[in-house]
Structures are given as structure tokens and as C-alpha cells.
């Protein structure tokens, strides 16, 4: 079980990624786009050309692969790679139900029964309007035809040499059109159970098909980015309608007029275009067909009639060394700087060299990995897994947090974040009363114990979607952060939240510190002999300064006073902090690792990662400071000093 969340704006008005499917509601002039950003958006297409956005339908957590508008536009059904099929009220945009029968990506909407032991993934489906025939296309390269009323297999149609990605049936289910990755479009007669014609109009795979009602002209688009209209009766007659900027995923005809006046096209890019088909009439009327298939065609349209602008999707990301901030680059080459912990964007850096910026923001600090990043939706999806979620500890000061009492506690990043994500979930609230009375006092306690909610340091944006899913990626439950207080959500959370999350958010059991073993020895230049080689152990985020204090206090001082040279193996981290002592220590001695003088601000894991570098236990050497080494140290500090983050 994993917990993920998406870092995003509260309202994502633009498609963030490619658009896998389109549906047009001619009655309301609405276009539905099924986005790879997991969001189905509703657009007003005939008015409001400037700002066509109406609403988002956000419940999926992965690519929405297909949508179908049915019941006269009242209901929308969507299929997603999060393995669910959802039924929506298309008018109001809320999710009415979720079907979880699938165990894998739902690529195309299946009205018929499940795949029936078919090992090959289905990439396309079509049902005729009368509901008497269903055709499925798959990597099996054959079309399988079913009767949805009886679930009987009717036939298999062989001919394609690659995956079948698009299918259309005519009204009475006697003819079928298929578009395949093999680059061909085939016309099949279901009555004769054979392929009637093969059309080779595309250079690469055919991914999207549309056909007019009369089943005489097919519109096709695909990997080669071109959209053709081909006359099924005379294949030589074809018109290049337009050329998109990215492979075509789906097309939707504007059927409000006949002949069709326009076609909507979605691609792997986030922008959806409407292309006018009016010119095609003139084209036909003039008889000016381009019969020479070998000659390059000039597109009918070079200008789109309407554009639903897309947003930029994040295509590249780099997790900075502090394991808290991320640099991303999007499709517009804009670079942004994000705070994973607070689930928000910190800064838009605009267009710049991504790699340069990464270099610029490099810090010599080591924090273990505690999350993973996914870009599949074009937005940042952060996933926490039990295995490493609690690996990262930082000092509150380093993280830019101040605690009320002015101390510098150690904070576990994963733990804090989980607490923040479930901040509104009543079970996580610490109530004066015990758990059993929590419900009764729920409303009262909520206000009173506000301070005891969350983690006490920061909050994540309330609109942040939180997703509970299986390790493989199957989504179990998605909710918005702020909704976890709701009754239904709260109940569902009780069922869903895994124990390891309960431990930290409800039971407040903080994970253990990571210990790091190391050796502390006098530097060879000091002339002192190592009497023993004690294996010390300390928190991996112990600062070098503390070790220096330990050395100063326990070894140097003892040496000078008693000459015994015996150092206790007491844990340095437990020494009480004395300002004077620290200053003194820093003045008098220095620590080295691999003969490199260490910055007192560095912690042990950073030393181990960036300076020790090799396997085996970390070994530190100490020596009294000499004047020459000061220069060296200064230099080192300036080059590797820790930067503090400013927290908004």
C-alpha cells in the first residue's frame, strides 16, 4: 500500500498532458476531454471561445483512456489506467459510481463482459448504435466480434499485422472499420466475415478513426500526426485535412451539421484543436482530388478553427539533495522549483537551462530518499512507500521550522507529511478525551484542539488530492486533503489507511533515528597514538560540530588534564550543548575525513556520502588546529556551506 499525493493548483483549468479521448455533446455544445492528467474536463465549445473551461471531473488518478457519453448526454463513462471505470453525471460533473472490476489499465470502454480469458490487451472497442454488435481490437491483431446481448463470440477477423487501436461500426453492425498500428485502415464486412478493403493512407500507425453516418468517408489520424479523409469507395480519393504537432490520439466529429463542419482532434500534447472541414466540400466539388498518392499532399487546413489551449506538462524533474525540493521542466521549457513537503510550487523560474539550474542548486548535503516522483499525469505525483518513507530525518532548524519552545528537534519528513496529508481526518486528532468519546466530542474538539492537528509545523494545500493505492499502481481511494473530515471519507479512510500510516498519524509513534557507526581517531599529523579504536555510533544527522565538541571535551581536555588519553565511548549526541564549549572546540580543533577538513555544519551522513564515499565504517580524524589549515578550512566552508531554506 502506498500513499501518494499530487502537487497542483486547486483548479487546473488546462489540460496538463495529452488528451486520450474526446466526446462532444451537441445539445449543450460541450466537449469532454479525457486527459492523461487524470482529469476529465468539460468545455463550452461554441461560445466563450476565450475561456471555454466549464468544469473538471477529477476522480481518476491516472490517465483517462476513454470516455463515452451516453443517455442523451446525461451520463459519461470513463475508463482509466487507474484500473477503474467511473460513471459520471455529465451535466453536473460528479462521479456517481466507480467500477473496480478490472485489474489492469482500462484502455477502452467495455460494455460487454470481461475479456474472457483473452490474454491480449484490448486497445479499442466499438459498439454499433443498435447495441447488437461489439468489436474489440487488441495486440492479438485480430478483431473479435461479440454479441453484447448474449455475450456470444461471433467471429474473429484476421488481417492486421499489428495492434488494433481504433474501431468503428456502422449503425446496423454490418460493417466495421479498423485502424491499426500497422499503418492500415481496413474495412470489414461482418456478414462475409472478411476484409473488404485495405487503405494505406498513413505512414505510421493509425490511432484514431471517425466516420460519417453514411459510412462512406473515414477520417483517420495517427502517429504520423496527419489527419486524412478517405473515400471508402474510392480509396484514391483522400484529402489531407491537417497536420497536427503531435501524434493524434482521438478525433471527434462535430455532427451538428451534415456534412460535418469540423473535427476536434486531441493529441499527445495538451492542446485540443478544432479543424474546419468546410473546405472539403469545395475540394470534392471541384473534383480536384489528389489521386496521386505518392505525391505529398498539401493540407486542407493550416489554421485551426478553435483551440482549447492546453497547459504545460512536466516532463523532467530532478530531486535536489535536500530531498525536499524538486526542480522540474515542463513542455514549454519553463523551470519550476517545488517544495515536496509543503506540496506546493515555491517558484517559477521561467525558461532557463535546466541542468544549469540543477548545478546551481546543488548542495553538499545528504538526506536519504524518502519519496518517489511520478510524472505520468504531467503534474507531480509524489508517492510515499512504507519501505523508505521514514528514512529522512532533518533538524527543524535545517528545515526552516521553529518549534514553539525554541529547541531544535529532529523531524522526520515522511512522518510530518503524512500527518499533514491526513490533518483533517478526525482519527488523527489528539483529543483530551480518549478515543471512544472522540465522536461525541468531534465537533467541539475540532476547534479547541486545532493546534494538535496535523504536525504542528506546516500544512499542505487543502485541495491536494491524496491517493491510496496498491504498490503496483492500482488506486484504492482518492480524496482531497480537506475532505478527509467528511463522514463518508472518514469511514473510507478507516478502511483504507494502512497500518504504517496509522502508526504515525494516529498513534504518533515516531520512527527511530538512523544510527551511523564511525571511528574517531587522532590525525596522523598530530603525532598522537591511537590507543583504542572505539566504534562510535551516533545519529546520522549529527553535525560535525557536535563531534568536535565531543573530541574537545572528552579527548583533548582529558588528554591535557589527566594525560590518560582515555576517551569514553559515550555517544556524542547526548552531550549537552554548551555554546562556549562549541565555540572553543571550533577554534581549537578540526575534524578531517579522507584528509579533508570538515565543515562543522555538515552532518555525519553528508560526510559519509560526499567525503568518505567508500564502503566500510566512516572514519574521522581530529587534530589541533594550525594556522595553515585555517585557510583551507575557510575555503572549504565557502564552497560547501549549507544553505538554509527560506520558508514561505
Amino acid at each position: 500500500m502506498q500513499v501518494s499525493y499530487v502537487i497542483r493548483d486547486e483548479v487546473e483549468k488546462y489540460n496538463r498532458n495529452g488528451v486520450n479521448a474526446l466526446q462532444l455533446d451537441p445539445a449543450l455544445n460541450r466537449l469532454f476531454t479525457a486527459g492523461r492528467d487524470s482529469i476529465i474536463r468539460i468545455w463550452s465549445v461554441n461560445q466563450h471561445k476565450q475561456d471555454p473551461y466549464i468544469a473538471s471531473m477529477e476522480h481518476h488518478t491516472d490517465w483517462v483512456n476513454d470516455i463515452v457519453l451516453c443517455c442523451n448526454g446525461k451520463t459519461l463513462i470513463s475508463a482509466s489506467s487507474d484500473t477503474t471505470v467511473k460513471v459520471w453525471n455529465a451535466h453536473k460533473g460528479f462521479c456517481m459510481s466507480t467500477l473496480r472490476t478490472h485489474k489492469d489499465y482500462v484502455k477502452a470502454l467495455a460494455y460487454a463482459k470481461d475479456k474472457d480469458g483473452n490474454k491480449d490487451s484490448i486497445y479499442s472497442l466499438a459498439m454499433n448504435q443498435m447495441g447488437t454488435v461489439i468489436v474489440s481490437g487488441s495486440t492479438e491483431k485480430v478483431l473479435r466480434v461479440w454479441d453484447p446481448r448474449t455475450c456470444a463470440k461471433l467471429m474473429k477477423l484476421k488481417g492486421h499485422t499489428d495492434n488494433v487501436k481504433s474501431l468503428l461500426l456502422n449503425r446496423d453492425g454490418t460493417q466495421c472499420l479498423s485502424g491499426s498500428s500497422d499503418g492500415t485502415i481496413r474495412l470489414w464486412s461482418l456478414g462475409q466475415q472478411r476484409c473488404i478493403a485495405t487503405y494505406r493512407v498513413h505512414d505510421e500507425g493509425v490511432w484514431a478513426l471517425q466516420v460519417n453516418e453514411a459510412f462512406t468517408h473515414v477520417y483517420s489520424g495517427g502517429r504520423d500526426r496527419k489527419i486524412y479523409c478517405t473515400d471508402l469507395r474510392s480509396p484514391d480519393i483522400r484529402v489531407l485535412i491537417c497536420e497536427e504537432k503531435a501524434p493524434v490520439l482521438k478525433m471527434e466529429l462535430d455532427r451538428s451539421a451534415d456534412p460535418h463542419s469540423a473535427i476536434w482532434v486531441s493529441t499527445t500534447k495538451s492542446t485540443v484543436n478544432k479543424w474546419s472541414l468546410k473546405g472539403i466540400l469545395n475540394f470534392r466539388a471541384s473534383g480536384d482530388y489528389d489521386n496521386d498518392c505518392s505525391a505529398p499532399l498539401t493540407p486542407l487546413c493550416t489554421q485551426t478553427e478553435q483551440v482549447i489551449k492546453g497547459g504545460a506538462s512536466i516532463i523532467q524533474c530532478h530531486i535536489l539533495n535536500d530531498k525536499r525540493h524538486i526542480l522540474t521542466k515542463d513542455t514549454n521549457n519553463n523551470v519550476a522549483y517545488w517544495d515536496v513537503l509543503k506540496a506546493c510550487k515555491v517558484e517559477d523560474l521561467g525558461k532557463m537551462e535546466f541542468d544549469e539550474e540543477i548545478k546551481k542548486r546543488f548542495k553538499t548535503v545528504y538526506v536519504p530518499n524518502w519519496f518517489s516522483v511520478d510524472l505520468k499525469t504531467g503534474m507531480l505525483t509524489i508517492t510515499l512507500d512504507e519501505s523508505d518513507c521514514f528514512a529522512a530525518w532533518v533538524s527543524a532548524k535545517d528545515a526552516g521550522f521553529t518549534s514553539p519552545d525554541g529547541s531544535d528537534p529532529k523531524l522526520n519528513l515522511g512522518g510530518l507529511l503524512l500527518q499533514a496529508l491526513l490533518e483533517y481526518w478526525p482519527r488523527t486528532h489528539i483529543n483530551p478525551s480518549d478515543d471512544e468519546t472522540e465522536l461525541n466530542h468531534g465537533m467541539n474538539g475540532e476547534h479547541e484542539s486545532r493546534i494538535q492537528k496535523g504536525n504542528g509545523y506546516f500544512q499542505v494545500p487543502p485541495h491536494t488530492p491524496v491517493i491510496f493505492g496498491e504498490a503496483g499502481g492500482r488506486t484504492l481511494f482518492r480524496l482531497l486533503c480537506r475532505d478527509s473530515g467528511g463522514e463518508t471519507e472518514s469511514m473510507l479512510l478507516n478502511e483504507t489507511v494502512p497500518q504504517w500510516v496509522i502508526d504515525i498519524t494516529v498513534d504518533k509513534n515516531m520512527p527511530k533515528f538512523n544510527k551511523i557507526p564511525f571511528y574517531l581517531q587522532p590525525h596522523s599529523s598530530s603525532g598522537a597514538k591511537t590507543l583504542k579504536k572505539d566504534r562510535l555510533s551516533a545519529s546520522d544527522m549529527l553535525q560535525v560540530r557536535k563531534v568536535m565538541e565531543h573530541v574537545y571535551e572528552k579527548i583533548i581536555n582529558l588528554d591535557s588534564e589527566s594525560q590518560t588519553g582515555a576517551a569514553s565511548a559515550e555517544k556524542p549526541s547526548e552531550q549537552k550543548e554548551e555554546e562556549d564549549m562549541a565555540v572553543l572546540a571550533e577554534e581549537k580543533i578540526e575534524l578531517l575525513c579522507q584528509d579533508q577538513v570538515l565543515d562543522p555544519n555538515m552532518d555525519l551522513r553528508t560526510v559519509k556520502h560526499f567525503i568518505w564515499k567508500s564502503g566500510g565504517d566512516l572514519t574521522l580524524h581530529y587534530r589541533q588546529k594550525s594556522t595553515e589549515t585555517n585557510a583551507i578550512q575557510d575555503e572549504f566552508v565557502s564552497s560547501s556551506g549549507l544553505e538554509k531554506f527560506s520558508i514561505a
Binding site: R36, W63, S81, D104, Y105, D120, S121, Y123, T139, N163, S181, E204, G205, R223, P247, T268, I315, D374, L375, K376, G378, G472, G473
Partner: protein, 777 residues
Amino acid sequence: MPGLLNEGGVVAAVVGSPVKKSKLSLKFFQKKDTKRALDFSEAPAEDNDTAEPEETTNHDQVVPMPCPSSPLTCEKHESLVPFVGLNNLGNTCYLNSILQVLYYCPGFKEAIKSLCLLAKLKDKQQEDGAKNEGDTGEDTLPVSMELLGSFHSIISSVEQLQSSFLLNPEKYSDGELATPPRKLLNTLRQLNPMYEGYLQHDAQEVLQCILANIQEACDNIKKEQTDNQKDSTLSNGMGESNHEDDGSSNGQLSGKRKSDTEAGNSKKRAKSQSKSKKNEENVPMTRSKRKSSSGITTESSDQRNGTEEKEQEKDRGSTTEEEKNDSPPKEEGKRTRRGKLGWLKPSGKQPSIFSKFRSMGRITSHVGGRGETKEKSDCSVQEKQEKDTSENESRTQEVKQSLEKNKEQSGLDVLKWMFQGQLVLRTRCLECECFTERREDFQDISVPVVESISVFDCQSTLSDDAETLKWAISQFASVERIVGQDKYFCETCHHYTEAERSLLFDKTPEVITIHLKCFAANGSEMDPYAGLSKVNTPLQTPLKLSLHEWCTQPDSPDRSHHYELFAVVMHSGVTISSGHYTTCIRMMDLHRTTLRLQSQDEDQDRDREDDTKQKKEEVPRTEYDDGEVSFSLPGRGQNVARVSTTISMSSKSVSKRSSEGVGLLGGQRSITSYELSNSNQTNPEKVSGSASRAAGSLLQNTVKKETEEEGVDAMDDGTQVSFDVALRNLLDFEGKWMLFDDSEVRLFEEEDFLRACSPETCSTSTPYLLFYKRVSQ
């Protein structure tokens, strides 16, 4: 060209046209001396006979076919087939079978020879010429080099035997034509202690071992050359003319490099065709000839001298390899070569070719541990394709270059060129249909014989498809889908997507080695082989094979994907733990070898001569027997049966193998030579010591007779054997399948052969390794 094959031809050339002579002789000189312990008394006469045809030939032009003017002497042949067998040294049939395949593998012999020359040169320099042994200095050299040397010596002795048999068949009337690969076996044992003792072993492993070590030797030589080259950069820099000369010599050394000028080809072809059936495959060889011949013209006078010397040597009769090595002309040649080689050599160093099984699903292939396997992923297929095409182009260019310039192909890469192909592992995202590719070298492909382990129990139900080699290869190259829980992360989609992974041949080698995985899991038995048992149902083995449908590149005249079966290693035995290996080889280059002789490259000519002679010799060898063989003779009609019966179980011991290397063990020779002491002349040692005697079993005799009769009108004309005649006798076997069963060699009618290789026959003798060579179209 066939006329050239004969030494006699060379001599004749000398007589007729001095220029030609010299060239030819030079070649002969360098390479041949080592091998021939012929009695040359007869040779001159033959030379004279063949001389005429040669005279007509120009260096550049194709040599006309020699007219078989001289009467054939067939007496000797009657009893023996003119091919040489290898004695079983105690369960070493796994080795013998592989050696025979390699020996007849087009171009391989020549490659070994040239490598040896290089290696020897090296030795000389190292040891200040103190010792030049016929074998590369064993003391100082790495074992791999030693292997090279011992391989060379076995080739030499085979060639000697063959030619001497051809020239003087009577000698062998009694005995058998076989030589014991003792030295090679010893080297092998040094290389891998596994081969100590008299256990049976897997032929495929031996093949890998040998090739890997030869490749290692190549790499060693290469390294040295580059080192030397650095030293001698200045000298090299002096003039390109020098380089060119060197190049020509190199080309010769390398032997079969095929580069040909078209014109030359066509001419040669035409001629050859007119004369006799010529294999398409021969063409490449002719190319090499051409080049070398052109190179020859530039050669210096000392080379001529050398050639003359050679001839003299020939006349004398037996010259030892050592002498040859010591002879000044050779050394010079070597040196120049060296410098050149370094110069020419591709800098890229390649790891030893043969490494372990790499399993991809059911598929296993041997993949070189090549560092350069590159993984590229391209978002846009177009770009990809462009890249690919460009790569292809460059590759084909490389090929062309290699073809065109013998010079550039120092013998060192011959092995790779011959056996190493490249596979492309292509992973295509089903979402965006972009693909990534990874290229890997392979030396052989291992294909399943039965559908899958689970199916094993119901073999009988296997579909027809399952029994064809094509099916097997498609299993090897089948498309795998990456779906379900374990999806593929597509860099383009930033998403886990379904994907297809296919295995294609990007570059096909000259010789495709197909390893039939003739085992299936039994499950029931707890034996050392983890329940594996041998599958005795052979695949339908086609004589022609096209890899077209699994290749990334279309067929081109340069490299067609059409292959022709030329050798099969058969395993007879019911279990995988023991059995007997035999080899069936189709005699293909007999003709071409002659052609080569005619072309005047010094070394190459020699080689070719040698080849022809070898082949000739080999042919006769068919008939010798150790005791074992003699036993088996009566049953000859059925090889399989015989083999199984003759196997002495006692001598075999089942050695346990680590599970990784499952193979068919074999090596049983009925009885080891020692045990056979009672049998008459069969003792292999004797035979080997005194150039084998031909042991004519009646059956064998009959076989030979038949073949002879079929061939050129072979008449017994007294004792005089002309090379020409000998050659012609040899040529009778062109295109015929010969069965090499250790020391015994005999004719295997194609029908019988096919029957043995087809599923219908339910015998315990099944094809195990198939060797296909490229057919140019």
C-alpha cells in the same frame, strides 16, 4: 581456377611464364611448406601437367580452368575417400566432430594459418628468432596462442595427409586416412582441465571454448601489433606504398576475406561454372583472390625469390615448418605484415566472443560480453529509423570495406566476421509506439526442439510447426509482451505502458551456428541433469535457411540472409549424458580451392592449394579406421545404429555438469585406441606417425569407387598421379555430404542425410549443432 589448386600448376606456371610463377610460388612457399610432407617426386610431373592452364591466367584475370589432360590415377582412391579423419583419443569424438566442422568451415583454415603466421612472427621477435616452432612458441605464449598453434598443426597434418593420399593413393591402400588431434587435445586440456581424462563432453562447449580462445589469441596478436605499431609508427609513416604491399600480404594471410571486384567475380564465376558446379558461396573467396592477386603484382622481388625457394622446397620434398619459418623471405613478409596489421586494424577491442548462455525467456543466445552494447531510446521513430539506417549504412559500408579491402581485414577479426552476428533487442511501447533497442553480439543461437517443457510429455501431439527449424527460430526470436503487473516504463509517455519486445538479427554472420536444445525436462528423475533428458525427435532440418523475416535489414546483395547448410554435428545416444558425435559436412569449396591456387597471391594461393590438397587429402581419409571403426564398418548402412552399438559404455563416465551448461555429452568412441591395440593397423598412433595408411574396408572401397566413377573419367594410369587428376578426384566430392566419424570418413548420400535429419526417423542420432553458411545471391 581449379587448375591452380595444384602445386603442379604452380610449377608449370613457373616454367611457362616466369612472372606468374614467382607469384604463385611465393604464396605456396609461405604457407605450404609447413604442411607438406608430401613426396614431391610426383609433384613436378603434375605441375607440368597443370602448367598449361595456368599460363593463360593473368594475375588480374580469372585463370582458366585446367584441362584434365592427364589421366587420372584412381587406384588408390578406390579404397579410401580422399578426406582425412581424426582418431578418437578416448572419448574425444566431441572434439573431432567440431574440428572437422571448423576445418571445412569456409575461410576458417585460412584464418588459422594467417593467424599462425602472425603469431609466429611475434614469437620470433620475442625470442629473437631463437626458436620458431611450427607451433607458436608454446613455452612463452599464452595457452590460447598455443591452441592456435596446435590447431594449425592439425590442419597441416590433415592437409598433408590428404595431399599425400591424393598424390599417392597406393600408400594408403592398406591403412586408414586419419590423424590424431593429440596436440590440440593437450592444449585444450591446458585451457580447461575439464577436458582432462576421457570423459565425454558437450560438442557445443568445445566449440565455444576453441573459438573463444582463438579469439583471445587474435586479441593478443592484435595487442602486440598495436604495440609494435606504435614503435614503428615512423617506419609505417614512410610510405603508403609499403602499407599497400603489406595489405596485400595481409589479405592473403587472412585467406578468405571476400572482397571482390565485380568484374573479377563474374569472370571467375563464369569460368568456374563452365568447369563445374560452383557454389555461390565460393564467390567471396574469389574476391579475396582477386584482391590478393592485385596486391601481388606489387610485391617485391624477394618475394619472388621466396616463391622460387618454395618451389624448390617442394621439389625437395619435405621441408619442415621450422625451416620455412626461418627462411628470410617469410620473416620479411611477416614483419611488414605486422606493421601493416597494426595500422589497418580496427582499434576497437573486442572481448572474447564466447561467453555464457544468456537466457531470455526460453531463448538463450551466446552473447559476447561486449562493452559496446548500446541502449538507445528514441522518442521519435523517425529519428530512430534514420539513425538505424545510417548505422546500417555505416555497417554495410564496413562490410563493403572489409570485402573490398582484404588488407584491412587482418586475419584477426576473421573469427568475428565469420561467426559473430548481432542481435537487436527491440522494445516497443504499445502506447506511443516508440522503441528502444539494445544490440548484442551472438555467436550461436540456441533454439528449442520441443515446444516447451510442459509440452514435453505429449510430444506426439506437437503440431507440425513445432518440428521445423523455422518454428524453432521463431521461438528464439519470438515477440514477448510486457504486460500486466510488470509493465514497461516508457520514457516518452512518462508512464508504465504495455510493450512488445522482439529479438531480431541486425547483423548476420557468415556462418550461423544453431544449437538445438535437445533436452526436455522429465521431472520424474532425480539425475544430475535436473530431470533433463534428451529429445530424440529431430527438427526438420532444411538445407536452406532464410533468416529474412527476423532481420532488421532487408536482403541485399552484400549480405543476404539466405543460408545453406554445410555441416551438422550429430549426436547419437539415448540420453544426454552419453553418446557419440559424428559430423556430416558438405564438401563445398573443393572447386574453389583450385581457383584460388590459380590466383597468384602468394599466401592465399598457398592456402588454397593447401585447402584443395587438404580436401583432397581429407577425402581419402574417410576410410581409415581405428579398431572401433573397423568394427562398425559392417553396419555402415546405418550410421546411427552402428554408432550406438559400437559405443563402449564402460569408457564413458557421466560427468556432472553445473546446471548452467546443459549440453549433450558425447565422445564415445567405441574403444579408445589403446584398448584397440589388438586390432590390426587400426592403432591411430601408428597411423598418425607414419602418415596414415589407408585402411580400405570393402564397403568404403565401394563407396569410393562409385564416387570416382561418377566423377571425371578416372582411369588408372600407372603410378603417375597428376595433381590435376588428384584434384579432379577430389572434385568428385563437390557438393557431396561426407560423414566424419572420428577416424572414419565416408560418403553420405544426401537422401540418407536428409532422412537422418528429419523427424520421421526415430533414431537416437539427432542433429545437435547446425552450421549454415551465407549464400550470396
